[in-house]
């Protein structure tokens, strides 16, 4: 093979490696558009985007943490706590202070996770596994096992703002994705986040403040989980103590599906948006086709394994080219 051909093959593999999620998404959209007349309507797509936004916001935070080389299993529980506080504190301190308190709880828990990981040197899997269990406990302690309900239903009107087909929730998701993509590409924190996940020894030798970056990224993740929780409470008008269960796992699936690597140092917000959208489209499309619930779950699982395999094959191909 000539040098040029080898370089081209390498470049193609590289592009595919970074952008394969868009091919998946395009494929999924194409398939469902043909299979169901209801799919490619503005109304439907708008709904899909809104529904995707919740996992999406969680995924934005998870992406920051993952590129840094860590993981956060507590986002589902943090979401539930923020949701509960945002509704539960309203009678006492009013709507927006309660919302703010919910937001702060996410910030505080994220900072706690980050500090524990940075100071103790423990693997974030263990620290946030503890968080997942314990924060859920906090939720139950606060709500007393009952779903909290809003008193003034004006609260549920808040997210009912639309810019064309995009709901406020969807807009917030996209805005956050854009904001943090900018952080990842344009700020020192973002670029050093990559450096730490990519080659921690080189980062350490260059004097990069590794602990600080970890604490910041976990705080971001917690804050975003809180935002998702608040938006969820606005949408539903209730806060269930079991809200967000298993959502952390779906968030991880979405992020990895998009192409960001668990090992760290590689990925982007756009990949994550792609992963989140693909997941949402798959769900929506299958539902429109009235396929039974189980197909959705099986397809999701299979797609993830395929994506993993593809990533493995492409990375090997690129290395050899």
């Amino acid at each position: 093979m000539t040098a040029l051909a080898a370089r081209t093959r390498g470049a193609a593999a590289d592009w595919l490696l970074r952008n394969h999620i868009w091919l998946f998404l395009a494929l999924a959209v194409a398939v469902f558009s043909m299979a169901s007349p209801y799919f490619l309507t503005v109304n439907n797509l708008s709904n899909v985007l809104t529904q995707a936004a919740f996992i999406g916001i969680l995924a934005v935070g998870m992406t920051m943490v993952m590129i840094n080389g860590e993981i956060d299993l507590s986002v589902g529980a943090t979401l539930a706590l923020a949701s509960a506080l945002a509704i539960g504190l309203q009678p006492a301190i009013g709507v927006w202070p309660a919302v703010f308190a919910g937001f702060l709880s996410g910030v505080a828990l994220g900072a706690l996770n980050g500090t524990l990981v940075a100071l103790s040197g423990m693997h974030s899997f263990i620290v946030t596994l503890g968080g997942l269990i314990g924060i859920r406990g906090l939720v139950f302690v606060y709500t007393g096992e009952q779903a909290l309900m809003i008193e003034d239903f004006a609260y549920t009107e808040i997210p009912e703002v639309y810019l064309g087909p995009l709901s406020l929730t969807a807009l917030i998701f996209l805005a956050l994705a854009a904001l943090f993509q900018w952080v990842l590409t344009g700020t020192r924190h973002g670029r050093e986040t990559y450096a730490v996940g990519d080659n921690i020894a080189a980062a350490h030798d260059a004097g990069i403040r590794i602990k600080r970056h970890k604490i910041i990224n976990f705080t971001i993740c917690g804050a975003l989980a809180a935002i998702a929780g608040i938006l969820l409470s606005m949408r539903l008008g209730t806060a269930e103590p079991n809200a967000g269960r298993i959502w952390e796992l779906w968030t991880i699936i979405a992020v990895v599906l998009g192409g960001t690597r668990l090992a760290g140092g590689y990925g982007s917000m756009w990949m994550t948006v792609g992963g989140v959208l693909t997941l949402a489209v798959l769900r929506n499309g299958l539902r429109l086709l009235n396929t039974p619930n189980y197909v959705e779950l099986m397809v999701m699982g299979s797609v993830l394994i395929l994506a993993l395999g593809l990533d493995r094959v492409l990375a090997a191909r690129k290395g050899a080219a």
């Binding site: 423990m122 503890g130 269990i133």
Partner: protein, 317 residues
């Protein structure tokens, strides 16, 4: 003779802390350390514990298995449903086979194809949930003639005053510990987790060892499903949800490292049992059941941090 505090803390710190905890609760709550209560706690943790016996093998090779919760659900549904179709013996046999098969699938993906364990078993979590829904048609299943079938013995029977689930759990622990500590396979599991490259260079079939660990995990989950199905005499589609995390929490609490290469069945038993006693003790002290989660959070972080600190000789990283 100087005492190596680091070593001592690492080897016995867990037991000491546990003992302290038991003592504190015993003082505060009546009936805590009675035989009846202890057996009750063990019975409650026997399902999680049995699964954890299998997952321990996977963790010692340095990997994870997050599919066990969904596996538990599916296998419980199978055993309950098949009980009405082929009878208890057939149902048990089928369930065990199914557990081995699912474990084998995990084993091939993670062990032979070397895909990332966390992601693969997450994907299986989803896939198996789907299979459960398909198999059950979305509805709950129940054991027909729950009053008369001998199938009840697994989840509800007692032998010499000890609940059968406890016998299965502890008996399983004895067998599992033997396999992990004393056999070629167990040695290979430790070696692969300790240094996979060196194991390969020593002629150990590392891919097969990892795959086998997942098969063990599947088998253990199948046994747990039989206990569960027998106890509940029915199964909903969410019955196993969340078990994967409790199992991992128990293994971690017991002191087995997620990095692989170290760990033991008895550590897992202690870790799982500790979680059970935390729940039970708090309940006896009058707290709601969810308070145990808060306590577990603190306990897990403290235990792992202490272990890490003892290993590296200083508290902060």
């Amino acid at each position: 003779m100087t005492i190596d505090w680091q070593q001592a803390l690492r080897r016995h710190g867990l037991i000491a802390a546990f003992g302290l905890f038991l003592a504190v609760v015993a003082v505060g709550a009546d009936g805590f350390l009675t035989l009846g209560n202890i057996l009750d706690v063990l019975r409650q943790v026997s399902i999680t514990g049995t699964i954890a016996l299998g997952v321990t093998f996977v963790v010692v090779t340095g990997r994870l298995d997050l599919s066990v919760g969904s596996m538990l659900t599916l296998l419980t549904v199978i055993v309950v449903d098949q009980h009405n179709v082929v009878g208890p013996v057939g149902a048990v046999a089928l369930t065990l086979l199914a557990g081995l098969a699912i474990g084998a699938v995990n084993g091939v993906l993670v062990g032979l194809l070397r895909l990332n364990a966390l992601i693969v078993t997450l994907a299986m979590l989803s896939l198996l949930q789907g299979v459960t829904l398909w198999y059950s048609g979305g509805s709950n299943v129940n054991v027909a003639g729950a009053g008369e079938t001998w199938f009840a013995v697994f989840g509800r029977g007692t032998l010499f005053g000890v609940p059968v689930p406890v016998l299965i759990f502890l008996g399983g622990a004895v067998v599992a510990s033997f396999f992990l500590k004393r056999t070629e396979f167990g040695r290979a599991v430790h070696a692969v987790g300790g240094n996979e490259t060196a194991s390969r260079f020593s002629g150990i079939a590392t891919a097969r060892t990892v795959a086998a660990a997942y098969v063990v995990s599947g088998l253990a989950t199948a046994i747990a499903a039989i206990i569960m199905g027998s106890r509940v005499m029915g199964a909903q589609n969410t019955i196993g949800q969340g078990y994967e995390l409790t199992v991992l929490a128990g293994i971690i609490l017991g002191g087995t490292s997620l990095m692989g290469g170290s760990g033991s069945i008895w550590r897992t038993v202690i870790g799982i049992t500790m979680l059970g006693f935390i729940q039970n003790g708090l309940l006896l002290l009058g707290y709601e059941y969810y308070v145990q989660w808060l306590v577990s959070w603190v306990v897990i972080i403290a235990a792992v941090w202490l272990d890490l600190a003892a290993k590296r000789g200083r508290v902060l990283a």
